[in-house]
């Protein structure tokens, strides 16, 4: 494999990173809203969030990608593949992050709500100053764990013509006919992207346990 090929894979890897980041931001924002709705004392809000989570978690990511990709063009819009892919990944991530964060919020002891309420804190301040800061600590390891999954799952974006790392490996192999070399190299790049995340996750997990 010559330098050009490495450059090609490197560029594709940047797309993988970019796509992961965009999905994380989009999914994070949407997922945060889902989590807040999910723990809302207003029942219809909670039901809406549950429905969203159940529906999205019940659909394969691949199908979400198709729906987003073809759905927009059928509806008469013509967004770039990047936009449709980012939307699909955000919708997907939001369901999982929303559920992770819902669990984190709810695992903060009820007595914390009670104690702050007894000091006169209204709900939004309770969440902001008392509950969420504690939930963040609980949420960090599983959130990072999900990010690792997400980075790997971006490979599915190739099905709608988005050229990221896995797709680039495929294309490269079509010219080189060296599947083993190419895909080992692709795998290595994925590992280099994911390992730091896993490592950070483990670190955070142990520091969280130590800080209890």
């Amino acid at each position: 494999m010559s330098g050009n090929y490495f450059l090609y894979l490197g560029t594709a890897a940047l797309w993988t990173v970019g796509l992961s980041l965009m999905a994380m931001v989009g999914g994070g924002l949407l997922g945060f809203c889902i989590a807040l709705l999910r723990v809302s004392p207003v029942k219809p809000f909670a039901w809406a969030a549950i429905a969203y989570i159940q529906v999205v978690q019940g659909i394969p990511l691949l199908v979400l990608l198709f729906i987003s990709y073809f759905g927009f063009s059928i509806a008469g819009f013509n967004p770039s593949p990047l936009v449709t892919v980012v939307i699909a990944f955000s919708v997907y991530s939001a369901a999982y992050l929303g559920e992770i964060w819902r669990g984190s919020i709810q695992s903060v002891s009820k007595t914390q709500w009670e104690a702050s309420s007894c000091l006169g804190f209204p709900r939004h301040l309770q969440l902001r100053q008392i509950i969420l800061p504690q939930a963040v600590r609980i949420a960090t390891p599983p959130t990072v764990g999900f990010m690792v999954q997400l980075v790997k799952n971006t490979s599915l974006a190739s099905v709608v013509g988005f050229i990221e790392l896995a797709r680039a490996g495929q294309i490269l192999n079509n010219t080189l006919f060296q599947p083993f070399t190419v895909f080992i190299f692709v795998a290595l790049i994925y590992f280099c992207l994911c390992f730091p995340l896993s490592y950070v996750s483990k670190k955070l997990e142990s520091s969280y346990v130590a800080n209890r």
């Binding site: 007595t111 914390q112 000091l119 804190f121 008392i130 504690q134």
Partner: protein, 244 residues
């Protein structure tokens, strides 16, 4: 003496269990009222009804001139700034320092500036003997110390009344002493206090009024010395004997 708490014929059920079965009671400003009774007699529930943590089914509860039952959420939060509560499990905010635990409600609820809040925090922490732990986190403190910080957090709000819900039940005897001394000092300073307790000696020594609850009712009520030396009912005399 003016009345600060008035409870009239309050009923409350948890499922089949009639925890409060027609409770009536009043507390005057400056009084220390100790509520005793067996587990399940409704004493903690009664205390929690006083600041609206538990809803009642019928009857009426008036605290600081405000009717608690049926009070809208916003008004209830305002009332709670005037009625402190200290829990058995301390319930400090674990992610905040002692300083922040005490000042947070002052700055974000009472909209006090940081300097003023800090001064109050220092004063109330000195009052409970915890001023030197200003920058510690709750997990670095013993149970007794955490409970004293919880008392300080409550005091900082300048409440007209503080409720104490079995605040020493989770502590070993040595740590119980330091918390009880703190409470005794508060009582001496004239703080109005309602406390649910298993510390009979403390109740006898500090309380102005002793309330014995049994079967969801105020079974006997009066000056502690009187109740302890000559209980009028079989239930109270049995309870006293079992506790001593």
């Amino acid at each position: 003496m003016s009345q600060i708490v008035n409870v009239e014929n309050v009923h409350k059920r948890f499922g089949q269990n009639h925890v409060l079965n027609g409770v009536s009671l009043s507390i005057n400003r400056g009084q220390v009222v100790a509520i005793i009774g067996r587990s399940g007699s409704g004493k903690s529930t009664l205390l929690r009804c006083l600041n609206g943590l538990e809803k009642i089914e019928s009857g009426s509860i008036t605290v600081c001139g405000t009717q608690v039952n049926g009070l809208p959420a916003k008004a209830l939060l305002e009332l709670r700034q005037r009625v402190g509560i200290v829990f058995q499990g301390y319930n400090l905010f674990p992610h905040l320092t002692v300083r922040k635990n005490v000042t947070l409600a002052l700055t974000s609820i009472k909209k006090m500036n940081a300097n003023k809040a800090e001064k109050i925090a220092l004063k109330v922490l000195e009052q409970v003997g915890m001023a030197e732990k200003l920058d510690a986190y709750p997990e670095q403190l013993s149970g007794g110390q955490q409970q004293r910080v919880a008392i300080a957090r409550s005091l900082a709000m300048m409440p007209e009344l503080i409720l104490f819900d079995e605040v020493t039940s989770a502590l070993d005897p040595e740590l119980t002493g330091e918390v009880l001394r703190t409470m005794e000092n508060l009582a001496r300073d004239g703080m109005t206090m309602a406390l649910v307790t298993h510390e009979m000696a403390f109740a006898k020594k500090v309380a102005d009024v002793l309330v014995f609850m049994h079967a969801g009712k105020v079974w006997e009520m009066g000056p502690p010395t009187e109740l302890f030396s000559s209980p009028r009912t079989e239930e109270l005399s049995r309870f006293i004997n079992s506790e001593l």
